[in-house]
Amino acid sequence: MTANLNSFRAKVRQLFLICNQLRESTSRVNQTISEVYQISLRSGISSSHVETGKRAFNEIAKQIARSSKVMEMESLLIRKIGTQISNLSLECLKRSLQIRKIYEAELLGCGKNTATVQRTIKKMEAAVFEHVDEIETLCFKTEGLSEKIAQQAERLWSLAINLRMEAAQSGDEEEIFFSNIGNAVAAAGEKLKEQQNEYRKLIRHCGEIRAELKSYQGEYYHAA
């Protein structure tokens, strides 16, 4: 594997970059969900002030609040995992740079330390692949969460439609106010759907790079 050290390092660098994009993506999702949560709070407070006959607003607002609360918890978890993935990929990058330096020493000749140097390189390579496996596990975990968030975003979008329909049948003042809230929720729902699509693409890309990296591992063990 050390014969392909440069392409191995390039692959680790790619993994690092994509993992960082993943982390940023989870932060964006979290941000959007926080916005939805704020909107749901606003609509909840406002709906509690409407007349008794128009309590449908209140029910829809409660459902928006419930959905956004669930999403918020999931997004916090996904953001936490995103950070873990990013940190693991940074560790891989650090290790690959260290391997390069030790490998350079081996090329210069390490005499009586050759066996130790080779053993150390193997140990460090194994640590990289261990982290790659951990990244894989965490990515699987986030895929499930991302799916749930996408479902909640769909539901949110439906609730926003309901809210706008109710608003259209109510008085002028309430129509404008709740239509605006409905529009904001619908827009956030759309944004979330887009973000989830983007996230899924990143996860796929990350998976591809991981698979390529793992082919080095196979090569290495085969050579050993």
């Binding site: 260290q98 330096k101 030790i102 020493a105 000749g109 330390n113 140097v117």
Partner: protein
Amino acid sequence: MQHKTLYDDGDTQWIYFGRDPNKAEQVIDTNQFVVIHKGKAFVMDPGGTEIFPSVLSQLSEFVEVHNIEGFLCSHQDPDIMSSLPLWMELAPHAKVYMSWLWKGFVSHFGYEFHENFITVKDEGCTIMLGDHPLQLVPAHFLHSSGNFHLYDAKAKILFSGDVGAALVPDNYDIIVKNFSNHIQYMEGFHRRWMPSNEAKLDWCRRVARLEIDLLCPQHGSIFKGEDVNNFLSWFETLRVGAAA
């Protein structure tokens, strides 16, 4: 990278590594010193990451890395020990001696090995390399606020960190041959880097009590014999910390 045996009495060797011709020109040249006693080694200021491959390769001619018992980090600079995480991968049982001031800072190079860190109190200490004592001599504020040099009473060698350092041209002598001529390469360095006349005089008084045949700085050339005294006299009278 060149190497030179500075002392060898059969049991104990002092070896110098430096003047790496393969080093990138952007990287300041550094001297690394290793004391080997009955097969066990102690490395002073193992150097930066960039020169690690050369140092390891050269060192491998003399010692097996699992026999490295310790490293001295005279202070916290990157050219002193940014290679430390790499060394610790190869010699995970080695102890790393440093001023108590720097433990938390040095951990930024990699905290995985913090259990190997031995923090040294301001007054210094004696390290045993097998049955061979090595004395850590306080050199605080020369130039770092937590700084140690290493003295080997048997070999009469003082590793003096940045004291005595010089920015010399390529292919310059490893041992100073003409002290007067050598001053031009170290005067600016000492004026700028050494911040305290008081600390300097304190160090001069302390070192004057030691019997020194070789004074080995981390940059530049080694002072030998009479040039050790020439250097100490020159340094004592030099006004430092005046660059501002």
